[in-house]
């Protein structure tokens, strides 16, 4: 397979009617989940379609790269879920089903852009070059973060819902003040859109014309609460009331997510302010390993969404176009297993933090009470004959 010849090939052009795909009817029963303006470039069957406003031209190499990112991220996620079941992690928030939304949006970013994630952006972290093992420290309970946010321009995971959208907005205000042409992206979910902080971040970003992209992964469920318990109007339409554009994209279509996010980032760079991107997707697993989705949602719903699986559709496209051969898929399978093994070993060999870590980095400039309590704790530890606290 040659990259040049396949990349040059014309993609299938569909008529520009408003009806998209058979899958579009799945959520049409509820107004807030209808898909009238779902940007799509790749159908669930893996057919390439055009969009008048958001198109993209990727080489076969780039397409395979996106596929690889999604497969490895899913493999990592599956390993983490297993590790939780085996008692190695206290909790895990799976991204299963949201790979396209995360990889597509993250691959639109430049290195100098800054990311403010929730606690589920494992695919984005992957694209930013954060070691996957580092994501597991907080879920294992050895730290509350585990990486230097400035090393990869990837902020710490944020557990409190929606808080990070304000941090992203403030950071973007700073970017604008600096006269830099980078952009900021804030990830959040459909549940977070009910939070005041998200509304306030929309207000601030609009007022100050901050170069920030709000990337909402509407995965249909906020733990057990469906989107109709969160909103009465399609999410992306909310942006209009704040004075910036909102776009709903097929969140299981990695090409569409990439194209729309790239467009939104370019708007931000040009000084045209914020954009809300609603990636219409589905969380195939539980919210976290603590909940049981069989208690609150029907199997048929998940099955309907499985037919729209982001990885399968890109694979179908790669195969149909001859962009990837068996050797590629086999090698990727092997790479996946190696990643899984590495992650498993990294977690199991992760040392517990030193006892004195309790008192570290509470303050940058120190604090008399922390100093006093540290000394008391050290003396208490030293009081044990064998020098160890059990």
């Amino acid at each position: 397979m040659t990259v040049e010849s396949t990349a040059a090939r014309k993609t299938t052009r569909r008529s520009s009617g408003t009806k998209r795909t058979a899958s579009a009817s799945a959520g049409a029963k509820k107004s807030q989940t209808s898909e009238p303006e779902l940007v799509q470039l790749l159908t669930p069957e893996g057919e390439r379609v055009q969009h008048p406003d958001y198109d993209i031209d990727l080489s076969a190499d780039e397409l395979r790269g996106l596929y690889r990112d999604m497969v490895l991220t899913r493999r990592f996620d599956a390993e983490a879920t297993s590790l939780q079941r085996q008692g190695e992690l206290g909790l895990w928030a799976s991204l299963l089903g949201q790979e396209a939304a995360q990889i597509g949006s993250a691959r639109a970013l430049r290195d100098d852009d800054y990311v403010f994630p929730t606690y589920r952006e494992h695919g984005v972290a992957w694209c930013r070059g954060v070691d996957p093992a580092n994501l597991l420290g907080m879920f294992r309970g050895v730290n509350h973060g585990g990486w230097d946010p400035n090393s990869n321009n990837f902020h710490l995971y944020t557990i409190v819902i929606g808080s990070q959208t304000l941090h992203a907005t403030g950071y973007a205000m700073g970017v604008a003040k600096d006269g830099a042409d980078s952009a900021v992206i804030a990830y959040f979910g459909d549940g977070a859109s009910s939070q005041g902080d998200v509304a306030e971040s929309f207000t601030f970003s609009a007022v100050y014309n901050a170069p920030v992209v709000f990337f909402c992964q509407n995965n249909q469920w906020a733990i057990s609460e469906p989107t109709e318990k969160q909103m009465r109007v399609p999410l992306y339409q909310r942006a209009q009331g704040f004075g910036f554009p909102g776009v709903r994209v097929d969140g299981n279509d990695v090409l569409a997510c990439l194209a729309v996010t790239r467009w939104a980032l370019e708007r931000a760079r040009r000084g045209e302010g914020p954009t809300l991107v609603e990636a219409f997707t589905y969380r195939m697993g539980a919210h976290t390993t603590s909940d049981d989705p069989t208690k609150y949602r029907a199997d048929e719903e998940r099955e309907a969404w499985e037919a729209k699986d982001p990885i399968l559709r890109l694979r179908a496209y790669l195969e149909r176009e001859g962009h990837a051969d068996a050797a590629f898929f086999d090698a990727l399978e092997e790479e996946s297993e190696t990643l899984g093994k590495r992650v498993r070993e990294a977690v199991r060999s992760m040392p517990d933090p030193d006892h004195m870590a309790i008192f570290e980095n509470v303050y940058a400039d120190g604090h008399a009470l922390v100093d006093e309590e540290r000394a008391q704790f050290a003396a208490y530890q030293a009081s044990f004959a064998d020098g160890e606290v059990k």
Binding site: G145, T169, Y171, G174, A364, D365, H367, A368, V370
Partner: protein, 326 residues
């Protein structure tokens, strides 16, 4: 001339001006801080001189103010945000407690959060509901935050600049009923440490420990006690997190009596913390239990009742008498 007599609010204004001049990364943010200069005029004239990019009028959204300030700090700025009144800080409490206080630790020290949150606090100005509260203990209880309150113009001038220079988040409580009290400010002095208590008046019979708006009341009480032949030492704590227990201990070892005075409710208040720790440190020096004078376990009352609620001269002197009677 370096020494000027300034009202406390004006000293804060001069302090902010100095901070804006000396560090281009310092920003002022808040509701009405621009043209109006803040409802107490603490930021008066700063936007005119430093522009809308440095002195930023914000939407009316406290969580947004603090949340975006966190983002700006992550970008390398040093935001000084104004919460218009004490009772309005609660919409931002989540951002302050769950984000601002913890981010440095969560990042294993890799990032710093030099954000100052200025809060005019306390009663005594005849205001309406939510405009007279003293929530300092709620912030001092949170690890990761530093909490200070000046009581004089000089401290207002210096402590605010020190708070801005700190790499830690600082909750800066301004005693609003002292905004108009004048005091000398030496802008060329070498300031004391931000978290060190000050002996505001020396005495040998009893120690009164206070901060912010209550320092003045305690000084008046000490003067009144002097007329009755009692020598009362007054400590201005200046910092509620950390608290300078060493200075309190030194004083109590001398006077053997301690009364802590604050406007906030006594229950679970900073007085309780001071009483407990000083009892531990000075058990064999104390001749009386540590007493506390403060607000009641009730919502801050309507203005017509605040004189009853707030510790005044008589309540402080009553506590002095009770302590010395042991």
């Amino acid at each position: 001339m370096a020494v000027q007599k300034l009202p406390l609010a004006k000293a804060l204004n001069e302090s902010l001006r100095k901070a804006l001049e000396s560090d281009p990364k310092v920003l002022i943010m808040g509701e009405d801080v621009g043209k109006l200069g803040g409802v107490f005029r603490v930021t008066d004239g700063l936007q005119k001189d430093f522009g809308e990019d440095r002195v930023i009028d914000t939407p009316l959204a406290e969580s947004g103010i603090v949340g975006t300030a966190i983002g700006l700090a992550l970008r390398g700025y040093r935001p000084v945000v104004e919460i218009q009144f004490d009772g309005f800080v609660f919409p931002a409490y989540d951002q302050i407690v769950t984000q601002l206080a913890k981010m440095h630790a969560r990042a294993l020290g890799k990032i710093k959060l030099p954000v100052v949150v200025r809060i005019p606090y306390g009663g005594g100005i005849g205001a309406v509901e939510h405009h007279s509260e003293s929530p300092e203990a709620l912030f001092a209880h949170v690890a990761g935050l530093k909490v200070v309150s000046p009581s004089t113009s000089s401290d207002a001038y210096w402590m605010l600049q020190q708070a801005i220079q700190s790499d830690d988040p600082v909750i800066f409580f301004e005693p609003k009923r002292r905004y108009w009290d004048k005091g000398e400010v030496d802008t060329e002095a070498i300031p004391g440490e931000l978290h060190k208590a000050r002996v505001a008046r020396e005495g040998s019979d009893l120690t009164l420990a206070a901060y912010g708006p209550m320092v003045k009341v305690c000084l008046e009480a000490a003067a009144a006690a002097q007329e009755e032949g009692k020598s009362v030492e007054v400590l201005d704590l200046r910092s509620m997190s950390p608290i300078d227990f060493d200075t309190i201990q030194t004083s109590v070892e001398k006077t053997r009596h301690l009364v802590v005075v604050h406007e906030a409710p006594v229950f679970y208040g900073s007085g309780a913390e001071i009483a407990a720790r000083i009892t531990e440190r000075c058990f064999y020096h104390l001749e009386a239990p540590v007493l506390r004078v403060g607000g009641y376990h009730a919502p801050y009352p309507p203005a017509r009742l605040e004189e009853e609620y707030l510790p005044g001269l008589d309540r402080v002197l009553d506590a002095v008498d009770r302590s010395l009677a042991y």
